[in-house]
Structure formats: structure tokens, C-alpha cells
Symmetry: C2
Subunit: 133 residues, 2 copies
DNA sequence: CTATGTGCAAACAGTTTGCAGTTAT
DNA sequence: ATAACTGCAAACTGTTTGCACATAG
């Protein structure tokens, strides 16, 4: 465990979900020479070791978090807001997919996409306005 | 509707889910001068018009399909295999998320990640071998 | 003639790779 | 001295942007 690796792990722990870029920026606050290449390599390594996991929240860069920090993400594709829910919220679906298709769902790896409450409400309001202006 | 746009739409229809690159390659078979920039712009346009939709199947480029072609995707993060299931398989989950979080799920926009039957079975077999070699 | 569409080159973000220098063992 | 780790530069994929030219209404 080199100093760089410790710093990367610390950064992931402190930041919650963070992109490699964000981790790098954080690490560079205390060790400016650390290169983004090292961050990528270290994140890969830590993931192989099972210490961190990455999640795809959407189009952009993935985010890394410590492995304890496991939940399903709901991302709003209007405003980008990210909510977290308990992983067991998808247990029924996972069981059904396994039964019907032999598919073993990894619910935490990819976020669910949709509209958050606020954006859904706003869309409804705008729709109502068009109908009766 | 310019010739380029028609070609892009045709390519999307014929290819099923295709990345912008793949669409471009297909279009260039009949119109070699068409640029990938035009493909991107046209796909955006067709999506605004509601004619096509894109889905994120994983890390790489998104795939485009005609809007009729709506289903949920199951991608295996071991072998990359993509299965399609009916969109209503997630209706219960969608209802639950809406009730509990006001979140309106768009089940078709992002694929569900996991292990397909073959890869799951193979992983099980390897695990058994380690225990009793 | 004005708006729209196109192609090209260049930029961009995110990520990976090759290589040389460094450090630990 | 051998292996592992790091930093840097360069490549790479996927995507967007600015600009000049062409076309159509």
C-alpha cells in the first residue's frame, strides 16, 4: 500500500461517489504530483481487491465508492439529481429475472434512469398549462 | 427530410440497435461522403422527433433503435451478451418507485447489468472447482 | 436572400498505453 | 538486482463545435 494508493482510497471514502477526475483533484490537494493515470490504475486495483466499486450514473464518467456503500441509484435525466435506495428494493425483480432468464442482476452497477419527483411534477404542470392556458 | 437523414433512419431500422459509428458505416456503404458528424446530428434530430430512441447498454457508445422497438435490455458484464425482455417486466418496480420516491422510471433507457445464464453457471462451476479440486 | 443542412478540421472528455525513471525488497 | 509502482507524453474512442460551402425555399 503506497502513499498514493492510500490517498486514493481516502479520497473515495471521503467523497462518497466520485469520478476518477474528482478523486484525482482531491488527492492533488495534499499530493499535487499525483497523476490521473495513477488514480485510474489504483481504482482498478482497489476494485479487483473488492475495496471499492464503480457505478454508472449516466452518460459521463463512472463514480467510485467504497464497497460497504452499496445501494441502487435513481438518476433523473432532466436535472441530474441522484437518489439512493436500498438494494433490496430490486430483490423481487432480481428473483423474477433469474427464474425467467437465468439472469443474475447486479442492481448496484448501473443506475436506474427516469424523472425525479420534482421534474415529473413540473412536466405534468407544463402539460396541464398547454391544455388549458 | 434530406437524403442523408433518410439513409440514417433506414440504417437504424435495418440494424436494430446500432451505435452511431455502426450507423455511419452502414450509411457510407451507399453514400461514402456522409460524415459521422451528420449522423450524430441526425440521430439527435430523429430522437427529438420521437422517431428513434437511444439506450445505454454499458460503458461504450449508446445504441439507437426505432421507437416502436421498445424493451428492457439485460446486458451481461462478463461476455457482453444482450437479452431483451418485455418492458412491462418492470411495471411493479416502477409502481413501487413512484409510490415511495415519486420517481418515474424509464425502464428502456438504461440496460440492467448482471450475469447471463451461461456466465453465471460458469462462475458457479469455477467456484465449485476451487472448493473441491 | 435568408435559413437550413452538410462536410471538414479541430477540440473536447474520458481513458488507456508505452516507456523511462524511481522506489522498495 | 529484480520486481513493482509512478509520472509523463501520446494515443485512443466517443462526441461536440466552429466555420465555410452548398442548397432549398
Amino acid at each position: 500500500m503506497t502513499p498514493q494508493r492510500q490517498l486514493v482510497l481516502d479520497a473515495v471514502s471521503e467523497l462518497g461517489h466520485a469520478t476518477p477526475e474528482a478523486v484525482c483533484t482531491r488527492v492533488q490537494e495534499t499530493a499535487p504530483a499525483v497523476n490521473i493515470t495513477t488514480v485510474y490504475r489504483t481504482l482498478d486495483l482497489l476494485e479487483q481487491l473488492g475495496v471499492v466499486k464503480h457505478t454508472h450514473l449516466g452518460h459521463g464518467a463512472p463514480t467510485y465508492a467504497t464497497s460497504e456503500h452499496e445501494h441502487v441509484h435513481l438518476v433523473c435525466h432532466h436535472c441530474g439529481r441522484v437518489d439512493e435506495i436500498e438494494a433490496d428494493a430490486l430483490d423481487d425483480l432480481a428473483a423474477a429475472l433469474r427464474r425467467s432468464h437465468g439472469f443474475r442482476l447486479d442492481a448496484t452497477h448501473v443506475a436506474l434512469s427516469g424523472a425525479c419527483r420534482d421534474c415529473a411534477d413540473r412536466a405534468d404542470a407544463e402539460l396541464a398549462e398547454e391544455v388549458a392556458p
